[in-house]
Subunit: 407 residues, 2 copies
């Protein structure tokens, strides 16, 4: 049993969070520095972008998390701290400043940044901001909301989710916040996602849960096919729930993974639906695949096609583009077996059977495709595996937002 | 010496071409059926899309060309003849109709189609159109222009190129037409490109020339990352130039490849510059790569990034996105060695050295990026190989064109 509850990263026991304006962004009404703090050393695990061009914070975080534990996450928006001469220096100095302010080891600080690549950055906003941030920390849901706002870039809504679940008779909470709207095509990692839990779990099992989860959650989201330089997905576990320490596979580990998956999949949907310029959230669900990997590749190709995305923007049931994307996806599919249908709140319509078009009502198709969330159901009729991927339509506003992002 | 001359597929000796309105499109003022005819059996070679969903004409053409010779190319626009119940039947029937009209073997006919996928199609327009097309055939440049127009879909300009060159003291002509504007990300094949030459060359050496050429020509073009189901690149060689038959590698073969490459690379530029909605032609030139393959992958990734494309639309010198694309490209690059500059008719500007931003004049950058053709020069400083890729910016009009393509 997994139940959605209010809040985000402060829903689990043991965590405080906050967000303030530190002056990295010019707009003084936009928070730009977030903190998530655990009252005790928490087991910590993470996955990162596979982009060879990496933000400096990732290198520092990887080092700090290598012992499996952390106390605090510090994340700024407005500047990616990537391709900067003094990037590592800034990331290390911020960790030190957090260490001094909170009286913890700098090596227990996870640092993250998001924003424009290759723009000059100084330590001044961190020097000014971190003491303010310490004052802003709260165990309440406003702490999580502030942090969720402070990590936003082109996002239009804050993204936070929490669930409660029962693991070995103890109530456990998992909650998270995320940001990401463009440059989204995670690959073995994700945009920025910070998740907290009060479950007791060893760093090794936590890493295993994170690495497995990401394959069917954030790696299945795409907004524009561009894998960011700063992607990071971090989970911290305080152990405050009082369950027996999860230190091996088994029922408790599976229950934890289910709770984690409920949070991450919901965040995926929120990220995709708030993709840059998006007017519609798109889901592609592939079933009947020979292998799980084929299902994943096929689902991701459909959601990633610029032509499919543009057709959905125009509410045009151009299913040939779905077939085209499946064909070039690299997934081993048999075109002559494929069935396709489109569905939304307004109904469902079959458009392709055995790789051939079927006669359908263009009027009904238009009605179905005019909804805010549309699912493309693809049956490969070739096996029993399935996968789901999340994305959004391609709109004038995506072009507008990205035609002049730096100014 | 390779010299550009007027004309397209009728520039080489031995070829006639024409284009008419056969009624596949509703708009009667738009030609929709093209023919290229050789007075004698010509050596023929082709490469096709790697998309697993393939247009029916590709299967028929592959069969017809398997003996290495052909007489005629028939190509319609307005319907891709893909994912149709009777696709093969229509492609075979059209070949027969051409055979009857021109008194040639149906198995010497190359068929191709382009347009919407999965729309019903009948043989009626071919029955009506092919006799008209026979009457329209011309050796003059108007024949090539008509054919080039008849294969257009969302293209805004016809695309034809011809060159003359000398092979073993004989003047040889190579000329071609192409269409393609969206769903363009060729992979071991291309959009529709038909090239004719009067060079004497065996089918085997012609195939070798075609297969080698495409790696650095059409495979290096992308408009939207979508590999079409109907891509085809065909070359027919009449032998009328009177050169000694090219039947092995050597000087004459190299000279032929250079002439072919002059035609195909020019067509690449024309295709990219006329990409759907494009306001700017983009070139990415990668040098200093360890291997040719790394150079190709890196150049293609930059030109394919939605974020890079949108930044160019906005004349925004957001070079961080170039670094980001190089980083996720899969090419083995060292981020800390990369230099980037932008250039156009208006000048050149360095924006990144050793993977770090350099101070530059935003004003000059804006001027350079406001031109119609912009080159991104990338030096990986890691070897001696280089490659070039062609693309276009991502604009409001791309979204508009593709939001409602079928109607």
């Amino acid at each position: 049993m997994t139940e959605f509850i209010e809040g985000g990263v402060t829903a689990a026991k043991g965590f405080l969070a906050g967000g303030i304006h530190a002056g990295i962004r010019k707009n003084r009404s936009k928070r730009d520095l977030a903190m998530i703090f655990c009252k005790k050393r928490a087991a910590a695990a993470a996955v990162y972008t596979t982009n060879l061009v990496k933000g400096a914070p990732l290198e520092v975080t990887r080092r700090h998390i290598s012992d499996g534990y952390a106390r605090c996450i510090l994340c700024n928006s407005g500047n990616a701290n990537t391709c900067n001469e003094n990037g590592i220096e800034i990331a290390e100095k911020s960790s030190e400043l957090v260490g001094i302010a909170l009286n913890i080891e700098p090596s227990d600080v996870i640092v993250a940044s998001t924003g424009v690549i290759g723009q000059p950055l100084s330590t001044a906003p961190f020097e000014r901001g971190i003491p303010l941030l310490k004052e802003a920390l709260s165990e309440g849901k406003e702490g999580s909301a502030q942090a969720a706002e402070a990590i936003m870039t082109t996002d239009t809504v804050i993204k936070e989710v929490a669930v409660k679940s029962v693991i070995a008779e103890k109530e456990v909470v998992v909650g998270g916040i995320a940001k990401g709207s463009g440059m989204i095509n995670p690959n073995m990692a994700t945009m920025l996602v910070f998740v907290t839990t009060d479950a007791a779990i060893t760093p090794e099992m936590l890493q295993k849960a994170v690495s497995e989860d990401v394959r069917d959650s954030f790696n299945m989201v795409t907004v524009d096919g561009d894998t960011s330089t700063n992607d990071m997905f971090v989970v911290m576990a305080s152990g405050e729930a009082g369950n027996d320490m999860i230190s091996a596979e088994g029922e408790a580990f599976e229950a934890f993974k289910r709770a984690l998956s409920a949070v991450t999949k919901k965040l995926c949907k929120m990220l995709a639906g708030d993709g840059e310029g998006a007017t519609k959230a798109l889901i592609s669900r592939v079933s009947g695949a020979r292998t799980k990997e084929i299902a994943r590749i096929a689902a991701k190709a459909v959601i990633g096609s610029a032509l499919v995305k543009a057709a959905f923007f125009g509410a045009d049931a151009n299913w040939g583009r779905v077939l085209c994307a499946l064909g070039y996806s690299g997934a081993g599919i048999d075109p002559d077996k494929i069935d396709v249908s489109f569905s939304s709140r307004a109904g469902s319509i079959d458009v392709c059977k055995n790789g051939r078009g079927v006669t359908f009502s263009e009027e009904l198709a238009k009605t179905i495709l005019s909804e805010k969330e549309i699912t493309t159901e693809i049956n490969l009729n070739d096996g029993t595996e399935s996968a789901e991927a999340w994305g959004c339509d391609l709109t004038y506003d995506y072009v507008k937002i990205n035609g002049d992002y730096r100014t």
